[in-house]
């Protein structure tokens, strides 16, 4: 499609013979929230790391905003924001210092970085804790800081790798509302989560990964229609139907 902001073609990546990503292909339209679902070890995070130019693929092609992630990674890095699954924060710095630091790293001036940092902290409900040391924050607050950093520099494409994992319902809801707000502003988002209800409500399309492959890709409605009445079937039912009920490592 001409309006595809992200194009992924036949992506492969192995670690010591283990195929973490095995022929993944998909596209994301500009302004779309695209869900990448799958059990643990399905290859979601590896896919995001390749798209974020942190990891090089063994083969395949990634085009983001018209730039090749392998041939011109710097151009890609200038238009993306990454919220990793892990808390990638400096615990000895304050919330504001964390945001300003990463703001400077994405090329903002001192003034711009501070301005955006305060705006993002406000967005996350952490304005009053701006000068608090991150080490003393709760898990939910750290998650919100982790998310706020990804927004520094106003990226065109946001990678959200399980941004709401392991936090209290209030923080989770706050992040969820922010993603809705970003959707309304037309930001392109690649979103992974284990909360199927979130994916169902947020994502225009969803891809289900397992064993390094995409085993299904459609709108939430389309996926639910495959196994029953979309009004009665949940995305979790679809997920379990597609990936099975056996436990994963």
């Amino acid at each position: 499609m001409a309006d595809d902001f992200v194009i992924v073609r036949d992506l492969h990546r192995s670690f010591n013979g283990f195929k973490a990503v095995d022929g993944v292909s998909f596209t994301i339209a500009r302004g779309e929230i695209f869900g990448l679902l799958g059990p643990n070890g399905a290859g979601k995070t590896t896919t995001i790391r390749i798209l974020a130019t942190v990891l090089r693929p063994d083969s395949g092609e990634v085009i983001i905003g018209g730039h090749s992630a392998t041939k011109d990674p710097q151009a890609v890095r200038r238009i993306i924001g990454v919220c990793p699954q892990e808390l990638a924060l400096y615990e000895d710095l304050s919330a504001l210092e964390n945001l300003v630091f990463f703001g400077r790293m994405v090329g903002l001036s001192g003034g711009e970085a501070k301005e955006q940092a305060m705006a993002n902290l406000r967005l996350m409900g952490l304005e009053e804790r701006a000068k608090g040391k991150v080490a003393k924050f709760s898990g939910g607050m750290k998650r919100r800081i982790n998310f706020a950093i990804a927004l520094m520099g106003h990226p065109e494409l946001l990678f959200l790798d399980e941004p709401t994992v392991g936090i209290d319902p209030q923080s989770r809801n706050h992040i969820y509302e922010n993603i809705v707000a970003l959707k309304e502003k037309g930001m392109t988002v690649l979103y992974t989560t284990h909360y199927m209800e979130e994916a169902d409500r947020l994502c225009r399309r969803v891809a289900v990964m397992d064993g390094g492959r995409i085993i299904a890709m459609d709108t939430p409605y389309g996926l639910k229609s495959r196994i029953g009445d979309p009004a009665k079937v949940t995305l979790e039912d679809v997920f379990l139907h597609l990936t099975g009920r056996s436990l994963r490592d």
Partner: protein, 414 residues
């Protein structure tokens, strides 16, 4: 330009974190001085004065012989009256006991007068002084040999005078030609030569001062030794902080921004270098003001060696961080390498005291080159030109560590 800014932001971030960590500040700045104060105290007085040389004498002659008279005259009665550098003369009462003392290792050696000393002196028979010394005490043996030769020469000269005088006196009939009378006359003449009450005319000492002897300040080798050790140690331990950056996923986050790998590496290195420079500045300022450290004839040489030590330690830390996977292994390796290389390289005590083979082995460590350079400049009066080998060696260490670090960081996974 953008890269330089990134490098600076990264270094500034590391410094901010460092300054807020009170334990790190204590470890980097205060802790080394506790060691310096302790070792200054322990090494105080070492090398500050010369130990006085003791020369032991004995005689095999029976009581009443001239040698007894000479020894009584030579013996040091009051050590406090001796001039600086003048040896103490000790009279051994019993020749056999003195020999046993040497054989038992209790005495280094002594000079003995022969049994026929008085007769030989009067009659012109050959006079042989005996030097009995421990084979392992080469320096003392040499000293005793020298003293014995001087003594023999002086005695030989006196022997000629005494013989001529005795011959003249007997021929003129002033004294009888029998042995007791001649011995009495000789004793009288020798008594004039060796006045009782100390101060021997047979042995004289000339003390020449070559330059002013001043007390060695232990800080002149303790401060640079601990500077080398702690600059390296502090940097090496910081490798753990770099590994933490990887384990906390902040490194991955940085790599997803427009910051290049070279900038990240440069930022880490610059942060370490700035910390090291702060550390050496504090070391030298406190060393000069509080411990009265003398930088020698070439303060510039001291500065160059210090800066090189900071550069190579920082490069080592980055290299270490790229070689290990976990914070624990980084910390363990940092401690082990620091605690092995510091004493080997002469940080705890001067390496020039080591046997030659150990000094050669020590050259595998940058510490040895650094302390060697500092000792040359601060203890032995060397100039900058004299420490060129040390400067080159330290620069080579820094280059090797940096090359390995860059290669590993570029090729290793996040």
């Amino acid at each position: 330009m953008q890269n330089m800014r990134h490098i600076w932001f990264l270094a500034a971030k590391d410094l901010t974190i460092f300054v807020r960590d009170r334990a790190s500040l204590f470890f980097f700045i205060v802790f080394p001085f506790l060691f310096i104060i302790l070792f200054n105290f322990l090494l105080r007085g070492v090398g500050s004065e010369d130990s006085r040389l003791e020369l032991h004498f004995a005689t095999r002659e029976p009581e009443g012989g001239l040698s007894h008279l000479i020894l009584a005259g030579m013996e040091t009665k009051d050590e406090s009256l001796l001039a600086p550098g003048e040896p103490k003369i000790v009279r051994e009462k019993d020749y056999a006991a003195a020999r046993l003392a040497v054989e038992g290792g209790k005495l280094g050696g002594f000079i003995a007068f022969p049994e026929n000393f008085t007769r030989a002196l009067a009659s012109g028979e050959p006079l042989e002084l005996e030097v009995f010394a421990d084979a392992g005490r080469a320096e003392l043996r040499t000293a005793l040999g020298g003293v014995a030769r001087s003594l023999a020469a002086e005695l030989a000269a006196n022997q000629v005078v005494i013989r001529a005088s005795v011959a003249l006196l007997t021929e003129s009939g002033i004294i009888p030609a029998d042995e007791p009378s001649i011995a009495a006359a000789v004793r009288q003449m020798m008594g004039k030569i060796t006045p009782a009450g100390g101060g021997s005319s047979l042995i004289s000492f000339k003390v020449e001062k070559v330059g002013e002897v001043k007390e060695t300040n232990p800080s002149d080798y303790v401060v640079p030794g601990y500077l080398v050790m702690f600059v390296f140690f502090a940097a090496a331990v910081s490798a753990e902080m770099i590994v933490r950056e990887r384990q906390n996923h902040t490194l991955e986050r940085l790599l997803a921004t427009s910051v290049g790998r070279s900038s990240i590496l440069g930022g880490m290195f610059l942060g370490l270098v700035i910390k090291g420079l702060i550390q050496i500045t504090i070391f030298w300022v406190v060393g000069i003001l509080a411990f009265r450290v003398d930088l020698g004839h070439s303060p510039l040489g001291v500065v160059i060696l210090s800066v090189l030590m900071v550069l190579l330690s920082s490069a080592f830390a980055v290299m270490l961080a790229t070689l290990v996977r976990t914070q624990r292994s980084a910390a363990s390796l940092a401690v082990i390498t620091s605690l092995v290389l510091a004493p080997l390289g002469g940080c705890w005590w001067p390496s020039f005291l080591y046997p030659l083979w150990l000094q050669n082995i020590a050259k595998i460590s940058p510490h040895a080159w650094a302390t060697s350079g500092f000792n040359k400049l601060m203890l032995f009066g060397a100039n900058l030109g004299d420490v060129v080998p040390e400067v080159v060696a330290l620069a080579c260490f820094a280059a090797i560590f940096a090359v390995v670090a860059i290669w590993r960081f570029r090729t290793s996974a996040v």
